[in-house]
Symmetry: C2
Subunit: 573 residues, 2 copies
């Protein structure tokens, strides 16, 4: 029989293992079976704990903490459906490579498959969406089992942090009594050091790339999430090669402080409209495809005269165009820096100049439109980007919000960090993920750009802002429904088919939502007013909601107007 | 290549298959990949569709529809994390045997494992919590494939409805273009008839039971969900045997119109306090254990002088006490009726009388307490039970709400149907499940009894009430936190450990929640006022929230006062 003291030792040693490999934060959802682990985490000085009743929001909050801190984060819940609520965030963590350590607690073996209350099969609960599933042993206090508990805590946390990073699930069968012995020492005694190597190419492999790229007409295409530091390295590489760089907001190319006319903002707008006399000889892709569908179609249109390089450390072959001819499996930043060092001569300026022309023509076209001078969802999104403070953090929601930024914003040299959930692009959990981001740097400007459906989907997450005084500024683009569908083929449908299934207006008064959770509320009436409010957030972060009332149809008309203007200006009819 | 017309035929034929086996309702969450199925379901006259943006609430709503209609219900969502949001409701459906047909849509094979947007591995997404996982073929229009589509729709729906009922998951890979051909005939042309047999004992097996039970000192223990009709059959059986019947609210024994002094309401209060001179010779259990922990402990204390029969059609051996000596694998109602017909002589009245005495003593003890005459969470729960109209529907949440009803309510002869989510007993999805129940019989009195944490957890579900004008009366027991933990061992903790992890006050003004979703709001100030409001709901159902402000500590004190009074009255010290 295991007594309270043995259980406490065993679980405490497991926690020490997690701490040794870098866990500093844990998000706990209340429950009975999880009591001993909850109390040990809560009492542990080296771990900051957050409590959230809704496990779905709790898991997305942990995702946000880990994204903004680049550290592994632990999650803890009780047995039963509680754990199933983690699933959406786990799928996103798996796809976007975020190291979450998911701790579920369970009935012990003798209470399984017998109809015990709040019990269900938790083995492999998250299927292929975790890197590992581990059923822990029933707590025992022998040295062998303490070593085992420590080892698992240390090992799984490190495994979650190895490339490709991702979530790991541990299931703890626990017997009653569930109260741990809190009089024991809970100080951390064990530690293991890890020197982690990274994938790097050999000198010979690097020189092959240099030979193939130097002086060629090339394009860098950077997708996926990148840090500001990585973004600057990519721009440096583009400048060294004299190649245009196409990316999207998540790559942080337009939000880092390095400016360059090679940064092809607006690529989504012009790339399908230009008369491309010369196709690139080389395309070098880093990470996933950028979000722009037009960029994807342009890449797809390239023929065998273009050689496609795909730099992907994970080796997961995530190239949906299946064009990769040279796969470079190496850490991206180290690789980019190594190449930059070795390139001796640039590609000719004529190659660069045509790209810069297209980009500038697009900028002029945008400047001419009266719609760009009044408040709407597009201009509000642009303004958010412009008004981000140095070292601020912006979380951008899926569907329309990120597309507005991708299509319409250029480099502002303001050096802020943009985050999103672009692993699987769900509209779920956005509020909680943004609040996790905010909790890592609450003293900075923290902004969330989000639509009304995503806001509604994760409204529960706002309780975290209320409980932990998280000063997030929410810019709510409210077009009362699913604005993205007005851009897709579904728009061809009859209104009586379209509105109930795709339009889905929800008619919520979001000022009440703000009031419910204690956020300040402002309805933006003009661009000037929005500008003032956003400027204020740079100096004085606070929990507030700024509602921008949009119109689904207007967004589409503006986009179409830009495209038709560019068709004229850029030559394609 | 499959064209739009072929895809339409294939999916339409699948829908016909589902209709043939009984699907009449579908809950759809908006998305792009699911477009053709969404439109076909929406346009299908034989299927009533509901739309809900939050897939978690959508799935629980479907669960409620199926629970109240006893029919299979289809669920549809797009690819990605959308489907993962279904998981909590699917786990509950699996454990409480509810036939949901889960349709997820997916990228086709050529867009899998390649980093395509909004794509993830959806194979066996719900692990062991569905009866089957089926990857459908890419739509094709040949006769062979139309037969296949029909057969799968018909077969899986029937399979979901076979004992033990449960959810089934079908994944549809769909290629663009995603718009179906809506000009084709969408009328239902195929149908298959099903004559479903049920497990019944042989004459010889029945006579063995009769011989073993007749004139013996026995107890019927009925747990799990039962219809009013089944409940009446169980009471008839108890009367025929002259045995007490112990159950819980979900069994609907105290809410059906058949009254009997053998119905042991209050068993949770008295069963551990009585001096039981004679242990039963026979215990016959139907379904899961009742929710009362004291009843469970009493059963556990029985020794080999008691023979335990366990009637369970599913054959799943869900007996957490592992006491079953005779397992009866037969349909419960048919079995109970057959036994009732065969019993010739009753057990002596002395056996019955001691149980009736205990029950009456408890009733007196409750009547003496002043706390039972003022408004608190306990008396509010009792009043809800008393004020349910004939054929009304009550949904009761987990944790405290169902325990208040179980401990403190007796038969009122009012014939209403009580529902709950007692498969895994989560506090998630309660609002949506109750609204699903309400949507089946919106003209009747529909009430939800729920605590504040469960209310918060599924607040999003309220959008369904707003959109579909569902006249649910919500009685909110608001003790500002996790009231159940004040009854458990966690109460021994220091306040600075208890409150943040278990107490978890959320400090929400629920009148704002009511306003947000368009519900009328009343704060109950007295029992008399609450009575009037509840009586009004019998005549005029409407969407409203009645808040009863509770106190976690008071609930415990009242319970302890009852128990200590009974200790004195019933002899155990």
């Amino acid at each position: 029989m295991t007594n309270q003291s043995e259980m406490t030792n065993y679980l405490q040693t497991f926690v020490e293992g997690m701490i040794s490999s870098g866990v500093e934060q844990a998000v706990i959802s209340p429950g009975s079976r999880s009591t001993p682990l909850a109390l040990l985490l809560h009492r542990q000085e080296k771990i900051e704990t957050f409590i959230e009743v809704d496990e779905r929001s709790a898991a997305f909050f942990a995702l946000g903490l880990s994204k903004a801190s680049s550290k592994p984060v632990a999650l803890l819940c009780t047995s039963g459906t509680a754990a199933a609520n983690y699933y959406p965030a786990i799928c996103e963590a798996s796809a976007s490579h975020v190291p979450l350590i998911i701790l579920t607690t369970d009935r012990p073996h003798e209470l399984r498959q017998v109809g015990a209350p709040q019990a269900m099969d938790q083995f492999h609960l998250f299927q292929s969406h975790v890197k590992e599933f581990i059923e822990m042993a029933i707590p025992e206090g022998t040295n062998v089992m303490l070593d085992y508990a420590y080892w698992q805590g240390m090992r799984v946390t490190d495994t979650a942090c190895q490339t490709p990073k991702g979530p790991i699930h541990l299931n703890f069968p626990l017997r009653e009594p569930l109260l741990p012995d809190l009089n024991q020492s809970l100080s951390v005694e064990r530690q293991t050091e890890i020197f982690a190597g990274q994938k790097q190419l050999s000198e010979e492999q690097l020189l092959k790339c240099v030979a193939a790229w130097q002086e060629k007409k090339g394009v860098l295409v950077v997708g996926g999430s990148h840090t500001l530091e990585e973004a600057e390295v990519f721009i440096e590489l583009a400048e060294t090669l004299n190649w245009p760089i196409i990316s999207d907001p998540l790559a942080n190319i337009t939000s880092c402080s390095k400016d360059s006319s090679l940064i092809m903002s607006y690529a989504d707008l012009f790339i399908q409209e230009v008369e491309m006399k010369l196709y690139p000889e080389v395309v070098v892709r880093f990470g996933m495809l950028p979000i722009s569908k037009n960029t994807m179609l342009w890449l797809q249109s390239l023929n065998e005269t273009t050689t496609i390089y795909f730099v992907d450390e994970t080796g997961e072959w995530q190239d949906q165009l299946k064009q990769t001819q040279v796969a470079i499996q190496a850490e991206e930043q180290i690789f980019a820096e190594a190449i930059t060092d070795k390139i001796k001569t640039k590609t000719s300026d004529s190659w660069r100049n045509q790209w810069v022309d297209w980009q500038e023509t697009t900028e002029q076209q945008l400047a001419e439109l009266s719609e760009m001078k009044t408040l709407n969802e597009t201009t509000a999104s642009i303004l958010v980007h412009k008004k981000m403070a140095k070292n601020g953090q912006l979380f951008v929601s899926n569907s329309n919000a990120i597309r507005f930024l991708d299509r319409f914003t250029a480099s502002e040299n303001n050096h802020y960090h943009l985050f999103g959930n672009r692993g699987i692009n769900g509209i779920d959990g956005i509020v909680s993920t943004a609040l996790g981001m905010c909790a890592i740097n609450p003293d900075r400007q923290n902004v969330l750009l989000i639509g009304d459906l995503a806001m509604y989907h994760d409204m529960n997450g706002l309780l975290l802002a209320k409980r932990y005084n998280l000063p997030l500024t929410i810019v709510l683009l409210n077009n009362n429904g699913g604005g993205i569908f007005s851009f897709l083929s579904q728009r061809q449908l009859r209104p009586d088919d379209f509105e109930p299934i795709f339009g889905t207006p929800i008619d919520l008064d979001f000022s009440l939502v703000a009031q419910l959770y204690g956020a300040d509320y402002v309805k933006a009436e003009s661009l000037e007013q929005l500008e003032l409010v956003l400027e204020a957030t740079q100096k004085q972060p606070k929990f507030q909601m700024i509602e921008v009332v949009g119109n689904r149809q207007e967004n589409v008309l503006l986009y179409e107007k830009v495209i038709s203007g560019l068709k004229e200006k850029l030559g394609k009819k």
